[in-house]
Assembly symmetry: C2
Homo-oligomer: 399 residues x 2
């Protein structure tokens, strides 16, 4: 990737994704190995009038040392200033930008999964509060690294793998369009129209059916289907994920039944969970197994009472660019846009129109998405009257 592509990407992230305004403080969450894009984003933010760019770098190698050596009782400790800073970002109406993509895949795989599961950093419970309060204009975007490229394209030479990953990310983010912002606006118009039809249908539940999957996810009476066309409480539009191809809502955490099998691997703070199978009873994930890495997720579901219940359900068609690449990216931000998914843990209250429903939405310190959709998984809406309405068939909207 050349400097021009990096700058186009930085400008899309800053100008369209986060929609940085003059005089805003801009917080960037980055990792060692992502310096080049981070610096380009910082420069773009300052060109857009930012008052200060605050880069917070999280190093998974330091987390590894903690899990290896720290006292087990201290592994869930978070210094007070982490949460204080996050809340201040909201109070001071800052912009937030996060860069995804694994820089050290598998780094925690050989560690005790119970200890791994106790340390949730860099995730902060306050970030969920700030998202729900809609006080920050924020976005997350993928940052290719050589280590990530080797994971996605293990059969290629390192330099070819890195070049291909950049090419794919540029395609997914519509950077290969003459006007990436116009391309995103058009796609979001389409998804927003679907979301409006889903909301209007007022389904009581969704039924997922496919290989290893027979799952019913109850919806709330006031569940609103949303897209990544967000705006802050001050009316500032932003796009929280680039790329985003999903429409999602907040389910009923008490009414989830059946069994679901993941359709993509899940990267969990360095542990890769493959072949995940989760059994639900009365809304709770009572059985978590996997071909590999399942212990880390099972430990996470023990974090708090809400960690074993659903906080999100999302539908993804196959018109988007992610699914068409038929590539496993090992990055939830991208992979979740290839397939319908559910998330254990914290719910987004803003996807519920009614206060009583919001009070019943799932609460947790975790939020872990995993992919359950594919063209082989049918999604059907169940109405209060007992009707079955086709929503997704073969990956296409049937609604």
């Amino acid at each position: 990737m050349d400097d021009e592509l990096i700058q186009r990407f930085a400008d899309l992230i800053v100008g369209f994704g986060a929609n940085v305004q003059p005089n805003q403080i801009v917080a960037i969450g980055s990792e060692p190995g992502k310096e080049r894009l981070t610096r380009a984003i910082a420069a773009s933010a300052y060109r857009h009038g930012a008052k200060f760019v605050d880069v917070a770098t999280f190093d998974l190698h330091v987390k590894r040392a903690r899990i290896l050596y720290a006292d087990e009782q201290s592994l869930d400790f978070v210094p007070s200033w982490y949460g204080d800073r996050m809340l201040a970002l909201g109070d001071q109406r800052c912009a937030r930008i996060g860069l995804t993509g694994p820089v050290a895949p598998g780094l925690l795989d050989d560690l005790d999964p119970v200890r791994v599961g106790r340390d949730h950093m860099p995730f902060l419970k306050e970030s969920g509060e700030v998202v729900n309060a809609r006080t920050t204009n924020w976005t997350a975007a993928p940052c290719p690294t050589p280590e990530w490229a080797a994971l996605v394209h293990p059969d290629l030479e390192p330099s070819a793998a890195y070049a291909l990953l950049w090419e794919q990310v540029a395609h997914l983010c519509r950077l290969d369009e003459q006007d990436p912002v116009a391309a995103w606006s058009s796609r979001m118009d389409r998804l927003t129209a679907v979301a409006e039809r889903l909301t209007a249908a007022r389904f009581d539940a969704l039924h997922f059916e496919g290989p290893g999957t027979d799952l019913q996810v109850g919806l709330m009476p006031s569940s609103q289907w949303l897209t990544a066309r967000f705006s802050t409480i001050d009316g500032l539009p932003h796009m929280p994920n680039i790329p985003s191809e999903e429409t999602f809502t907040t389910p009923d955490p008490q009414r989830v039944f059946g069994t679901v099998t993941s359709t993509k691997p899940l990267v969990l703070s360095g542990t890769i969970v493959r072949g995940l199978k989760v059994g639900f009873e009365d809304g709770r994930a009572v059985e978590v197994t996997a071909e590999s890495g399942g212990e880390a997720l099972a430990a996470l579901t023990q974090t708090d009472p809400g960690a074993a219940r659903l906080g999100e359900v999302a539908l993804v068609d196959r018109e988007g660019r992610v699914g068409a690449l038929e590539t496993v990216f090992y990055d939830t931000l991208i992979d979740e846009n290839a397939a319908s998914h559910i998330a254990l843990g914290m719910a987004y209250g803003f996807a519920l129109a009614d206060d009583a429903d919001r009070a019943r939405a799932n609460a947790s310190t975790i939020h872990v998405d995993f992919m359950i959709g594919s063209p082989e998984v049918d999604v059907t809406g169940l109405t209060n009257g007992g009707e079955r309405v086709a929503i997704l068939r073969g990956g296409d909207w049937a609604l």
Copy 2:
């Protein structure tokens, strides 16, 4: 440098320099390019029982973008959570570790020096408060990088320069001794004895005389000569600088007269100041010139009323290991230990025994050391009775 040397260094920094205690939070200040030593320090801290290791990384490239593009009026802005975190580190009795050594020498040299001078980050005024309150056990140590090595040894191949810099840093830090802690204890015993004799002498002023230098620095009645053998208010010993070869005190900010010429280059947030000459009248630096980079320092002296007055005077003999290497390291932490020096800006109140003197000590948001000593510069103590007492002659203690 091999893994064993890195680990010995990390253990010296954590176990002796900062003297990290079980259950402490440890804050590390680092930069991109210093990951290897930073991770070894984090691992050592966790092995010493740390509760959490908080790495804050400052990227000079992001600072460059700020100075290039941000509104000039915003350049001295610092987000609230930077100071809040620093004060919390004190309140919560944390350990602090900083890694020095330039990673991008000269990166700001082509920028407007007035704009460069307005942005003091990563320096925080709260760090001075916390140092003065003696609530944290802390240390700063040098971290060799290839970019720094190329600056120090421009005539060598990059890999040879890097290897030599590591070898020199290991020597300076007594890592080539079988027991580095014992070596440091012996050296600090020697310097502490000199400091005690200087304090007992109760000089009214010091007189520096050498090429381009004829400077009198007034002392306070209660000025105490200290070494880097520090302890916190809770009695926890630590060594704030590794290496350290100096004894220092807090001067009278009103009584500094004459002219001084720097004897080593000064690296100032990416700008290298060479051939610095400062004229003092009634304690104030009224004339600041340099062969290069002088504008950045001149702008810094305009920061606040105390920025043009002295906050520190330090004496260095030639028994230490830094001077003997006859190398300019472009890192104040090391270079100041080759030579006697003075600092513009904030004074350390704890070097004054008397409340009235402490109230008169210099206050500023800056603290900039520059080297004024060499074997060619004589240092003489002036007593209240008008006597002249030799302190340093040819770099050796004469006291």
